[in-house]
Amino acid sequence: MNYSIDYKELYNTSPSGYFCSLPDGTIVDSNKKFLELTNYTREEVIGEKNFTDFLSLGGKIYFENVYAPALKLSGTIEEINFNFIKKDGSAFPVLINSVEVKDTEGLHLFTQSAVFNISQRKKYEQELLIAKTKANALSNELKEVNKELHNRAELILKQKLQLEEFNHHLENKNRQLSSFAHIASHNLRAPVSNLVALKDFYNENIDLEDKAMLFSKVEIVIGHLDETLNELIESVKIQGNKDIIHDSIIFEAVFDKTLAILDTQILVSKAVITSDFSEVPIASYPKLYIESILLNLLSNAIRYSAPDRIPRIHFYTEMKNNEILLIAKDNGLGIDLKKHGHKLFGLNNTFHRHPDSKGVGLFMTKTQIEAVGGAITVESEVDKGTTFNIILKKNRK
């Protein structure tokens, strides 16, 4: 069917803007829509205006550096967004497609361009961009908040661990206090009972000689009572000192000091004393306590050596299960652990009728060790020897 189409009229009334330019940019033709969009008359544009006259300076940079070269290299270019400037100087956003029209020999004759006004699209684009920026900002904010929450959770966990440690300390203290209370009542009970009995005898007795004898017995018991009370007070002092200042201890040095203090006893006993602190040469421990512990254990080892053999005493340090061990080994009289094991570290207990044994030494040593968070155990065989194993600080399991 013949629709008698007037192409010129079609071109002129097209709903998109058309213009045609020479290779140097001079506009040689345009349709009505283009003139409407840019607000110019035909006379003002044709042969008068250049493509780049419709662009801002910023747009011109893009035109010269990207648009024109790409068009030259591939012959067409599409969907370029420019801001076109109207006659009154205001700008509107466009999408532009261009194509090079060449002759049969490939010579560039014209550039044909189609222009669409995208003002509405642009508004939508900008709204999208704003929304995208807001969303990104919100996402970043959430990341920050999340990080903050994570940090707080970590802090709370740390605090929980600290509280557990405090709880453990308090449990320890509680145990020590109740054991002390038990010991106190037990050890004070006996002499006080004695005194009560003597008092009764004293009151019943009329004889002066008997009274004098009773009173001298009372004096003896009071002496024992006084001594026991003093020892208990000493241990209370130790037990109260849980948060004790730790020093940097060089075992070798402290041990040498201990040897110096017991110089005479060592000479007399002819004991051979050796040490090996190479595996764990230093530790963090209260100085006074370690001195007291070493002194107590070494003096015990010398005191309770077997008379028929040369005393051999060896102190050393070891690392086991991430805990520092201090070990004191001797070849002395040994202890019958079956008989006395459960009373070994109690107060006022002696297993050998030795003139110097008072029986408070091991109690104090155990208290000191436990006060710092460690533990002491013993292995022994009668007439073979004894080994004391001290864990300086127990690992919390």
Binding site: P23, D24, G25, T52, S56, L57, G58, G59, K60, I61, Y62, E64, N65, V66, A68, P69, A70, K72, L73, S74, E79, I80, N81, F82, N83, P93, E125
Partner: protein, 265 residues
């Protein structure tokens, strides 16, 4: 080493000749810009073409925002490539911003370059109190907005898909055929570095024999700017062509070739 550089800068070598001609494109496109020029020099020169890192088919992953925040980064690349190719007495041809890159490279290694040809150079685009670069900061901001809204076949969501994706070969093919399609983020950064730069003080340090080729009408690097460059380089000649536009090597290749040949005799 050379293999790495070839991949990084998409180096292509054409022609035979004892002398080397090293052509570097300016802002916006890639080595395809020289396609009308190089055939005329293939017989006499070993022609070296590259894409600046971040442009064309160069290795995008090598675009270090710190290194390329100054033109020195690109100048170092030029020197590195010359050394790797064992090029001596190089004739360096730089368009637009690459003319300045050439200046910086020649200052660093004067014995490497025999001649410098600048097409549409500008040492600074933004006007100041006494200097006419042609643009204000507003104009450059305007350029940034235009860059923002023109992705030329890229889409920031799609781009990573395209770069590494073998199951959309038709997209890759599309990119292969299109020109001046550079990563939008990098293009923006490069634009900032180019159009907000100032290399005026470097001009006087250049001792290399220089030819400045200038279109008689160029909105980006006007004749005034060309003259400024000529006045500040001691050993220079200025040739104004009867061409329009910022890329005479594309829009007026014959005139450009003629000017180059006249100078290189």
């Amino acid at each position: 080493m050379l293999q790495k550089l070839v991949a990084r800068n998409n180096i292509t070598i054409q022609g035979t000749g004892s002398k080397s001609m090293f052509l570097v494109h300016g802002y916006g496109c890639d080595q395809n810009m020289w396609r009308y020029i190089t055939p005329q020099f293939k017989e006499d020169y070993r022609i070296i073409l590259i894409d600046l890192v971040g442009s064309g088919k160069s290795d995008e992953n090598a675009y270090d925002y710190d290194k390329y925040s100054s033109l020195e980064g690109y100048a170092d690349d030029i020197i590195e490539i010359c050394d790797a190719l064992n090029a001596k007495d190089v004739c360096f041809v730089g368009h637009s911003v690459s003319a300045m890159i050439g200046v910086l490279a020649a200052i660093k290694r004067p014995t490497l370059f025999e001649k410098l040809i600048m097409i549409g150079p500008s040492p600074r685009y933004i006007n100041d109190a006494v200097y006419f670069g042609g643009f204000s900061q507003n104009d450059i901001d305007d350029l940034m907005e235009t860059l923002d809204s023109n992705y030329l076949g890229w889409s920031s969501a799609m781009a990573p898909v395209i770069m590494g994706n073998s199951d959309r070969p038709e997209l890759a093919a599309e990119l292969e055929e299109s020109f001046c399609q550079n990563n939008p983020e990098i293009a923006k950064h490069f634009a900032k570095v180019t159009f907000q730069g100032d290399n005026r003080s470097d001009l006087s340090k250049l001792t290399t024999d220089t030819l400045i080729i200038q279109s008689k009408e160029d909105a980006i690097a006007s004749v005034k700017v060309g003259q400024y460059v000529h006045e500040n380089i001691a050993n220079s000649k200025l040739e104004i062509l009867e061409t329009t536009g910022h890329c005479p090597h594309l829009s007026g290749p014959n005139q450009t070739i003629e000017a180059m040949k006249k100078y290189l005799i």
